[in-house]
């Protein structure tokens, strides 16, 4: 947590309140001038970018540690194609913001936070995209897509965000699979899948919720792996694979709904599975 040493006491943000207590107790131990005037006296050097709210400067410069870390990671993404998902990339990112390379020490030396940050950013971008599309449909500017086309487009849009980093993406995947990162990476994955289904709307696919999640997760993960090894122009092989997988999922769903109604549908279900396997 950030020590709001400065004028931000007046800002009255909830998060500041508990920090003002330690401030008042530590001010008794200070031999120097009272806290309000403390920081500016310490740093009289010229126009140094201030990452903490200094005495005179108000809320525009006020930035929490999390926000600063966020900015460093975003800046670091630019260096990933060259350095990989490593502390080096983070160090270069910090340098572009005017910070010392030692700031990379704030993060783990294996680049975990960088990968997780990127994935979460991609997911947010996807959400925004889907929301915009939904708005357009609501305004009548666009047609509502059928489920399979929707899923295909959403997965493709999301995977296209990987293209600038595709060379180092296998490294990123291995980082995401580290035991330490699995809770976070799993969380990010499932929330993305949920978002896609949410915007797909409830169509009569007759899957229950878990099955839908599992199916789409399978589609996404397998397509991602195919993309790693795809050298076709514009990744056309990947998109074709994606189309086939989504089609299979639709077939399975149609099959499943018949199982509920008639007995012979069991046979059809087996047929559907065989088709999937043979693809």
């Amino acid at each position: 947590p950030l020590r709001a040493l400065h004028a931000s006491a007046a800002l009255g943000r909830a998060s500041d309140e508990h920090r003002n207590e330690p401030l008042s107790s530590s001010s008794q131990q200070h031999f120097d001038s009272p806290p309000a005037g403390h920081q500016p006296e310490q740093q009289p050097q010229g126009p140094r970018p201030s990452y903490t709210g200094q005495g005179g400067q108000e809320s525009e410069d006020y930035e929490s540690e999390e926000q600063l870390q966020h900015r460093i990671l975003t800046a670091a993404l630019e260096f990933v194609p060259e350095h990989g998902w490593t502390a080096e990339a983070i160090a270069e990112g910090a340098k572009t913001l005017g910070l010392s390379v030692a700031a990379a020490g704030m993060f783990h030396s294996d680049g975990s936070e960088l990968v997780l940050h990127f994935v979460s950013e991609c997911n947010s971008k996807l959400c925004k995209l889907l929301e915009q599309e939904q708005k357009q449909v609501q305004l009548g500017e666009a047609e509502k897509k059928p489920v399979d086309e929707f899923l295909r487009d959403a997965v493709e849009a999301r995977l296209r965000m990987l293209i600038p980093y595709i060379e180092k993406w296998p490294q990123a995947l291995s980082v995401l699979l580290l035991p330490r990162n699995i809770p976070s990476s799993l969380n990010l994955l499932t929330s993305m899948i949920d978002d896609i289904w949410h915007y797909a709307g409830d169509q009569s696919t007759d899957f229950n919720w878990y099955t839908r999640r599992a199916v789409l997760t399978g589609i996404y993960n397998t397509t991602e792996l195919v993309m790693m090894q795809d050298s076709s122009p514009g990744f056309e092989d990947t998109w074709r694979f994606l189309r086939n997988r989504v089609a299979d999922a639709m077939t399975m769903s149609n099959t499943a709904s018949q199982v509920q109604s008639t007995g012979e549908a069991v046979v059809q279900g087996l047929m559907g599975a065989a088709v999937t396997v043979s693809n």
């Binding site: 970018p49 540690e65 502390a87 080096e88 160090a91 005017g98 010392s100 030692a102 704030m106």
Partner: protein
């Protein structure tokens, strides 16, 4: 304090090894590993007299630099021979990648021993030796990427001044690292540790360095030193953020880290 270290300078390394049974080397290695410096880092090692941290830093940066160069070579597939030759030349003359260490100590004797060690071990470039007081460093503001003080801060009379100086000379984004003896919370271990400290160490001091009193002082100053949480609060007071500590060997030694943000 000055006289303690005057006596102690020459035998410093030997005493360190015998007192800590050689584990101090591991502690210092862990410190540099935690720092994870990349080439181009400017390090200030305060109270670093005999150069232990400085040498480890140079080794670390050298090996990182070598790996960097190897990776660069792998990418040089489309360059002409002339370009490859030029890049070889440029990199050969830069094995440290512009990284530098400034070793600062209040005691001339310790610096002398350090310089001799450097020569003996073959460290020539990237090192500077400066006489100075941690409470009043002879450096400009915003200069260094990393500030370390290994087993030195407990000898500083005004720790808060030393912390403020550390804050001053660090660049924005710079890191403060402190390796120091600290408090053992485990009661059983604490008793064993006390036994060892008060019975064995001064005796070793007498036998090896001929100086019982200095080592008695050492052990007592360790007990007087603020515990982990208190030191963390002091570091935060100096203006550092993301202050954290890592206990090594159950609290016998702790590494505190903070950032100037």
């Amino acid at each position: 304090v000055y006289q303690v270290f005057e006596n102690v300078a020459k035998k410093y390394d030997v005493m360190n090894d015998s007192m800590t049974l050689g584990i101090h080397r591991v502690w210092k290695d862990i410190l540099v590993h935690k720092m994870n410096p990349c080439p181009g880092t400017l390090l200030l090692d305060v109270a670093g007299g005999t150069g232990d941290i400085a040498f480890r830093f140079i080794n670390y940066v050298r090996s990182v630099r070598q790996r960097q160069l190897q990776r660069k070579l792998k990418h040089h597939q489309n360059l002409s021979w002339q370009e490859i030759f030029e890049s070889y030349q440029k990199d050969e003359f830069n094995p440290l990648g512009d990284s530098q260490v400034v070793v600062c100590d209040i005691n001339r004797e310790m610096l002398k021993v350090g310089k001799q060690k450097a020569q003996h071990l073959g460290y020539s470039e990237g090192l500077s030796w400066v006489l100075g007081n941690a409470e009043e460093l002879p450096f400009d503001d915003d200069k260094f990427d990393v500030y370390t003080i290994a087993f030195g801060i407990r000898n500083v009379t005004r720790i808060d001044l030393a912390l403020q100086e550390a804050y001053r000379v660090l660049k924005p984004g710079g890191r403060f690292l402190c390796l120091e003896f600290s408090h053992v919370s485990n009661p059983l271990l604490s008793r064993l540790y006390d036994l060892y400290s008060f019975q064995v160490i001064p005796v070793l001091g007498e036998v090896i360095a001929g100086d019982w009193r200095s080592y008695q002082y050492l052990v007592e100053s360790i007990r007087q030193f603020p515990p982990q949480e208190e030191l963390k609060a002091m570091i935060e007071d100096a203006g550092f953020f993301k202050v954290d500590y890592e206990n090594l060997n159950f609290g016998i030694v702790a590494i505190h880290s903070g950032f100037k943000l």
